[in-house]
Amino acid sequence: MRTLHLLTFPLFVFLSAALIAVASPEPQQSVDKADHNRQGLQYYDEAFYKQLPQGKQREADAFFDLALMEFQQAIAANPEDAAAYRNLARLHYVRKNFLQAVDAYRTVTVLEPQNIDAFVLLALSYTRIDRFVEAIQALEAAKNHTDDPEVIRKLDGYIRKINDHNQE
């Protein structure tokens, strides 16, 4: 029974991946960077929204791996593709690969400095690996890219939470 399961699982992922690839609106032979992003998102959706909520971690991991390859190819095709970095960062984040998420979010903040949410997600990723000084630096950096007093107030609130935690 276990042997059968081991055999059928890769087959399941292969067939599902093929199905997703076929369902892609563009022909695979003319894949450009946008298609890699789109394809990657389809694998990501399959993993995160279909497999994980049903408790299918192994199946989800397989699709996450496929999504990772697609996002990496999109970035290889265009190293300034902010959308690809956002997708990659999110993928690492939900897989709790916070070190890699930090790298990807840091690039997003460089490519899209007006994206304040990316700075917060970068800071949040830093807190997950106990790099609090850099987390605060990311939040301070975000304040330089907005003049919305309400947003600055909230960023200060996050900085305070990190400081409070460090004092405990």
Partner: protein, 555 residues
């Protein structure tokens, strides 16, 4: 900005399409009448339920899990509600991160949520959970909600529609999904990843379900978001689909919109700018997971009148006056009724406590004199008293009920409007005929007729035709009659259908036949059917216990 504009135009298009859709629906096909509430001594036309919201399972440093567990275990056991309705933000979507930044969905939070509910053993038809914005961030299709929530898993839908039917009426409840439909993640800038609203498919569901129950006495709707701007810039509210939704609320003559989201509690009444009806109660309950008080509401329907009390987790006793109705409910209650300045007015209150309730008392206008209330034998959570209001001046008065136990003392205070008029109009019911339905012929020639009779064979259905009229012998419609059947050691209570325009109503007693061994079944002998009450808005039963005698014979 582009995204917002895009959403707005798509929402506007949805609203347009939907408006065209609902214009085809006749308002008459919708149901509910909050004005059907009536003041009556009948103490068996009552049920109650709980609304709570914003459980936020996964919040850092809160009582989220403990409070949800308390609701589905202790509160459910003590209060014994007809159902519990949870209006969204079931999970926090933060998985306890320090910033409180919703970065989920997180399966860990949903697992914790599911485990709390599962371990309580609460059945699916007693627990309705609908999504909020925290259940929608980064999840456009509500996958985590649909795979993990109780209602989502049971139905595959993000909205709920259900009825509660009793001998005295049918009540329709809707749980609507006001959460964002874009799947955006949380954001520091407006609308904070929460472009809340009702799209055309959500509105279509609401419209269809409202039209499905034309005979319901009351319609009550619950959702996560406020419908309108709260004045707090951080509070999102229903940005699209609102005109269509308000139109549906008006057409269905809904009594209530109950919501959460703000983590504040309030009870107001919404008066529409336009529409056929007066509006609806607009109640906000605080957060079960994040607030420190006012985390759940007990609502009761007593003789079609709505009463409500917001309560705090762990605080007993909980007291809710259900009759007379609170004229001040929501600051303005057009669905209340005047109380006659009579010598024996009924007062009823629900009292819930984990400990034994030692006393329940009432007083009027903050008097120093308290009067005892008695537990209703057939409904141990309900207490009642007869109140002498004959000497009270016309106008508003306060009525307070307090309950005491080892847990402490709690109260409920309402406003009642005394009407200094003559005694209320009286209504009575006579048993005009008894008999049975007889079917003759076959197939196309099949005919069912009523046949008058006073003698019936075991297993037959005994039909009581009742004539409801006022003191001038004018027929009264919309009344239900209570009959008590007694004899051979049996005591059965029947409630009639609602009387028609000629004052006629029907009550059915289904007797049972003996089994194959010729044992059991309704005991043969003489039975007496007696009128024990007549309930209709604006009238009091005249107390005439008219009766009729029938005989059951062996098969």
């Amino acid at each position: 900005m582009y995204r917002t504009a895009k959403k707005s135009s798509s929402a506007a298009l949805s609203a347009l399409i939907f408006s065209a859709l609902i214009l085809g629906l006749s308002p008459n096909c919708m149901a509910g009448d909050p004005h059907s509430a009536f003041y009556s001594p009948a103490n068996d036309r009552i049920f109650w339920f709980i609304q709570t919201s914003d459980t936020h399972i996964g919040t850092s440093g809160s009582q989220d899990s403990n409070n949800l567990s308390w609701i589905v275990n202790q509160a459910r056991s003590v209060i014994d509600p007809s159902f519990i309705l949870v209006t969204g933000d079931l999970t926090d979507s933060t998985n306890a991160n320090w910033f409180g930044w919703p970065d989920g969905p997180h399966q860990e939070e949903w697992d914790a949520y599911k485990n709390i509910i599962a371990s309580s053993g609460i059945p699916e038809d007693q627990y309705y959970d609908i999504p909020g914005n925290h259940d929608a961030y980064n999840d456009q299709d509500f996958s985590y909600y649909l795979n993990n929530s109780i209602h989502g898993r049971a139905t595959g839908r993000t909205q709920a529609s259900f009825v509660r039917t009793f001998g005295f009426g049918t009540y329709h409840f809707l749980g609507i999904n006001t959460a964002d439909n874009t799947g955006d993640g949380f954001s520091l800038t407006w609308p904070f990843g929460d472009y809340a609203g009702l799209d055309s498919s959500e509105l279509s569901f609401i419209s269809t379900e409202m039209a499905k129950y034309p005979d319901s006495d009351l319609t009550m709707v619950f959702g996560h978001h406020p419908l309108f701007d709260t004045g707090n810039a951080d509070d999102t509210y229903v940005y699209y689909g609102l005109p269509s939704f308000l139109s549906l609320m008006d057409q269905s003559y809904s009594s209530l919109y109950g919501y959460g989201h703000t983590h504040d509690a309030s009870e107001t009444f919404y008066v529409p700018d336009a529409g056929q009806h007066e509006g609806f109660h607009y109640f906000n309950v605080a957060s079960l997971g994040k607030s420190s008080s006012n985390q759940y509401t007990i609502m009761a329907i007593d003789c079609n009148g709505l009463s409500s009390k917001i309560n705090t987790v762990g605080s007993w006793p909980a007291v809710l006056i259900t009759a007379p109705l609170d004229e001040g409910l929501g600051g303005l209650n057009p669905y209340g009724y005047a109380v006659p300045a009579a010598a024996s007015n009924p007062i009823r209150a629900l009292v819930f406590d984990a400990n034994t309730v030692t006393s329940v008392q009432y007083r009027v206008d903050s008097s120093t004199s308290w009067f005892p209330m008695n537990r209703v034998a057939t409904n141990p959570r309900l207490w009642e008293a007869s109140w002498d209001a004959a000497s009270l001046a016309a106008g508003l008065h306060t009525l307070e009920v307090k309950a005491s136990s080892a847990s402490g003392t709690q109260n409920d205070i309402i406003k009642v409007r005394i009407e200094q008029t003559s005694q209320p109009k009286q209504v009575g019911a006579a048993i005009a005929e008894t008999g049975k339905y007889v079917t003759t012929g076959t197939r196309k020639n099949k005919v069912t007729t009523f046949q008058q009779a006073t003698s019936f064979i075991q297993g037959e259905s005994v039909i009581f035709w009742l004539q409801v009229s006022d003191t001038n012998s004018s027929p009264i419609s919309g009344a239900t009659v209570q009959l008590k059947i007694e004899g051979q050691g049996l005591g059965v209570t029947l409630t009639s259908t609602s009387s028609d325009s000629s004052g006629s109503a029907e009550a059915v007693w289904t007797t049972s036949a003996p089994n194959k061994r010729a044992t059991g079944g309704t005991t043969p002998g003489t039975y007496t059917a007696t009128v024990t009450g007549v309930a209709v808005s604006g009238y009091a039963w005249d107390g005439a216990a008219n009766s009729a005698t029938i005989t059951i014979v062996g098969k």
